[in-house]
Symmetry: C2
Subunit: 223 residues, 2 copies
DNA sequence: ACAATAGTGTCTATCAGACAATATCCT
DNA sequence: AGGATATTGTCTGATAGACACTATTGT
């Protein structure tokens, strides 16, 4: 039984914009030196352009569901804790019609990126995406979405240690700092960083070993 | 010429949720003692319930336009600088069907509230609305929207003096502090408050007069 | 020994919170 | 004079940034 207004029309009888979700999936990629780089996962299109994965929200579907379905379907990956960012509503942003998009962000650890080739991993400098190839920018307004997503990730890493559990198992303060430096895109001083984080960490038995220098204590995020 | 996909369907041929905007219009009401109270403007319904003003977004319309139209049409008021808060997407939040709503907030000075009776002014304590009458809460999920809106206003007033220009013309630090106390819902110490704000203010020639006590310097927001 | 990293001590500048002293009006 | 408010001084505690010193490893 569908609801109808005074003129006998259901909600679906009125012309209205379509609703979509776009997802900026961020990750930190580490090279052999231990240096990290914040990256965003892009879809590569036949015409050489790139975009964030996105799709239309179905009737009765929650945004979080649409996000999970999109990431699973277009990239073959599973989201962990997608967050809503903001709504992009320029009626001309999509040439197919009036599409209002709710931008989302999620942070994935590099190790969960399985299935080579289904996506493109593009570095994010500060809050700007560097797309490889001729084209400098993404389809639609997706450059803006990446910028907002990167800013969100940076705020999130400002005070809390590894808020998205990107590190696998216990870690040293050096590893934690390299992660935060990658997300923030700046160098951090080890002593200040240590004092900011130490209260939110729990020491774990054992020591780091292998590399040069004094072995470091090993921690996990408290509680 | 409408865009069509491979199966010959336009975007509007797919079932999809409706899109709406809801607006939490906040203001600060001052009593004769100079004490202020953060309030939200509500629509009163025939069944005694109350809600925020809201309406459906039309095809080709921007969210900001829908907000302006809604506030003008339902309350007879004009928005100044509406901001997007977040999206409420529970498919069951509206009994008429699947309605996804983008919550907005705007702050209006009390003097711009003309046309008595078209609305209800409800005090907000902390981030909670106190609705007069039997019912304790608002329709739909509008209590949540008010909470987010109040939190937004409080963050906005944490460091910047009168960010929404609620004060009319030059003001004393006392008047500014009473405004911020009303929005934040807490008492502020005058000396600390002065030192936080003074750098962002410009002194204006003249002094306050009339009340008891030493006349105060008069300021406006810098730049 | 030397390079490299870990961990800690300390100094300075800044800032919030709190208290208080002085200044200047009104009644 | 006395009450009320404005304005400024000062003390304390917390914290960020910077520098440096000691500690402990591998080569």
């Amino acid at each position: 039984m569908v609801w109808r207004d005074d003129s006998g029309k259901a909600l679906s009888d009125y012309p209205r914009p379509s609703l979509a979700v776009d997802v900026a999936l961020l990750t930190v990629r580490f090279d052999d030196d231990g240096d990290g780089q914040l990256c965003v996962l892009l879809q590569q299109h036949d015409d050489g352009s790139a975009s964030l994965p996105g799709s239309f929200v179905r009737e009765g579907e929650r945004l979080a569901e649409a996000v999970r379905r999109t990431v699973q379907g277009k990239l073959g990956l599973t989201t962990r804790d997608p967050r809503q960012l903001s709504v992009f509503d320029d009626p001309g942003r999509d040439s197919r019609g009036h599409v209002v998009s709710v931008a989302h962000v999620d942070l994935l650890p590099e190790r969960e990126l399985a299935g080579e080739g289904a996506w493109l991993l593009s570095p994010v400098d500060g809050t700007t995406v560097r797309v490889p190839g001729r084209r400098r920018s993404l389809r639609y307004d997706h450059d803006q979405i990446v910028a907002v997503a990167a800013g969100w990730a940076q705020q999130r890493h400002a005070r809390r240690p590894d808020p998205s559990r990107l590190l696998d198992g216990p870690f040293t303060l050096r590893e934690l700092r390299l992660l935060h430096e990658a997300v923030l895109g700046v160098r951090l001083q080890k002593d200040t960083f240590r004092r900011q984080m130490i209260d939110r960490l729990e020491e774990v038995p054992g020591r780091s070993s292998g590399g040069p220098g004094r072995p470091a204590a090993v921690f996990r995020v408290a509680r």
